[in-house]
Amino acid sequence: MRPLAGTPHVAEVVERLEEARGIFTLRLRFTEPEVHAAYGFAPGQFNMLYLHGVGGVPISIVSDPEDEHMYDHTIRAVGRVTRALAGLKAGDRIGVRGPFGRSWPLKEAEGRDVVIATGGLGCAPVVSVINYVLRRRERYGRLVILQGVKHTADLIWRERYERWARMPDTQVLLAASQSGPQWPWRTGNVLNLFDEAHVDPDNSVVMMCGPEGMMIAVVEELKRRGLPEYALWLSMERNMQCGSGRCGHCQHGGRFVCRDGPVFNYPDVKELLGVRGF
């Protein structure tokens, strides 16, 4: 699929969902039918969303690539543009360029266990993977979902985790550093979940997103448990303005995160991962 690079196309907010305080999902559809028909993406890719007169921001796509009706972006209102996007309602229109970047290795993962390890607020870049695997359950082995949050209140999509936990061959393990009442899962961080997860070191593909410190800790833990580095994948974030590896802001060493990533195989980025300032 040729990315719709260049000038944004107009998309309409079909629905706006409030996920948690400050976190919302925009369900979008291109207003021009031929643009909508030509658009396609793979889980892990992102779009640049533009609000007229305000600016643009890169946001990962959380919906299923075969859902042709609309595509979803879950956004946390933290900056100038995302706070403005938070004010949108159904029927409003924005500009969209994309999709950009490389996707999760879902083809390579076929026949293997898929382990999702996420930390921090939300796990938007991998929700699409979870949905993708669950819709194509026969193609994959076990699905293990590990999520760590700081506070129990930080967990969004609680009912989704509960629903996923009831799916066949699917294990959902959650941990909160500071747990409280109504928290049926573990206390601690995501690393404390691996004893229960029983990750098969020879037949697993691990996909991570979250703070880099957390991903580095998960990588170390998994290597200690015998997983090869090439089985580890992570989604990275950097300042992105063009989406096509031109503007230079997202560089991580020699890699343009927007174009060579945001999903990387761990050996490709390990040299500078965790080095402050890169």
Binding site: P3, A5, G6, T7, P8, H9, V10, E12, T31, Y50, H52, G53, V54, G55, G56, R76, V78, G79, T82, D92, R93, I94, G95, E237, R238, N239, Q241, C242, S244, G245, R246, C247, G248, H249, Q251, G253, G254, R255, F256, R259, E271, L272, V275, R276, G277, F278
Partner: protein, 371 residues
Amino acid sequence: MDEPLFLPAESLQALVDALQGRGFRCVGPRVQDGAVVYGRLDDAGELPHGMRDEQGPGRYRLRHEGDGRRFAWANGPQALKPFLFAPEEPLWRSRTDADGPVFEGLEPDTTGPLAVIGARACDLAALDLQDRHFLGGPGPDPHYQARREGLFLVAVDCSHPAETCFCVSTGDGPQVTAGHDLALHELGHGYVVRSGTERGAEVAAALPVRAARHDEIEQAGREVTRAVRAQHRRLPSRDLRSVLFSQLEHPQWQRVAERCLACGNCTSVCPTCFCHSEHDQAALDGSESLHLRQWDSCFTEGHSYLHGVVIRAETAQRYRQWLTHKLGSWHDQFGRSGCVGCGRCIAWCPVGIDLTEEVAALCHSDEEACE
């Protein structure tokens, strides 16, 4: 290519006329605000006759020496970069109608085919790198491409390198060897002319030229050799990637940060730096908004901003990003260093930071690797 030709000094106007006659707008070096920069050139008499430059760390001065040479100086602050990668340009516009926003792509801003007279070898090497960045990868950038396609390059060998030059060590000068339509070597009484392209040869054939004499070609060669020997600064000729990335915690990064103002002058004058920001400029009444791109610098705070956090908050981290990219990870991206040895970042640094000295200090503990 063909045998070298000779164009008498007094006939240089014929070159300007020939290019204008073929529809090119000509720009060439002019003295402006005490520096040699490119400007519109209709009259060869406006070239910097008899000018000489003195450059050093944080220093650039012009003086008049009174001879007839027009190109006897090393590069001023301006490279070819702004002609192709515009310092600021609009990419698209949005406006609102009854249904909401409408986005309109904007045509590349080009004033028609451009001929640049006086480009140096280092700048042609830099242009090649900008070409790889803006024309390769995900497909050509239409704005850069539109201007690049119309560009005619008359390059000039560098016979008077500045103290800040080190193109010999990067392999990019001082002689013009690639990327030109025409290459001139200035002698006291005229120019040895070589063509690099078919269209260059066509233009040369239309000039009042004769075959260059053996002694003229030899003199040009001697001047190039002298220019090579005049350069004292150097970068280690090998790939510095592994050295620099093995020295990420070297105390020299802090030492340079104590002097560096993080002003971004180095990235502005660098002929290969490509970073740019994209931002929106809304009309006061909100009805229209322009989406522009503008040169940016890895020395700014905003360059590494990521949802509320600045990844490179410290100047040491920004200088390290610049140098490790320019001399290190550029190899990963483009198969060569991003430095062409023009020395502009040294001359135009307000505090005179010299990247060749910084590299030498970083390599101090690894001298063998930095040969």
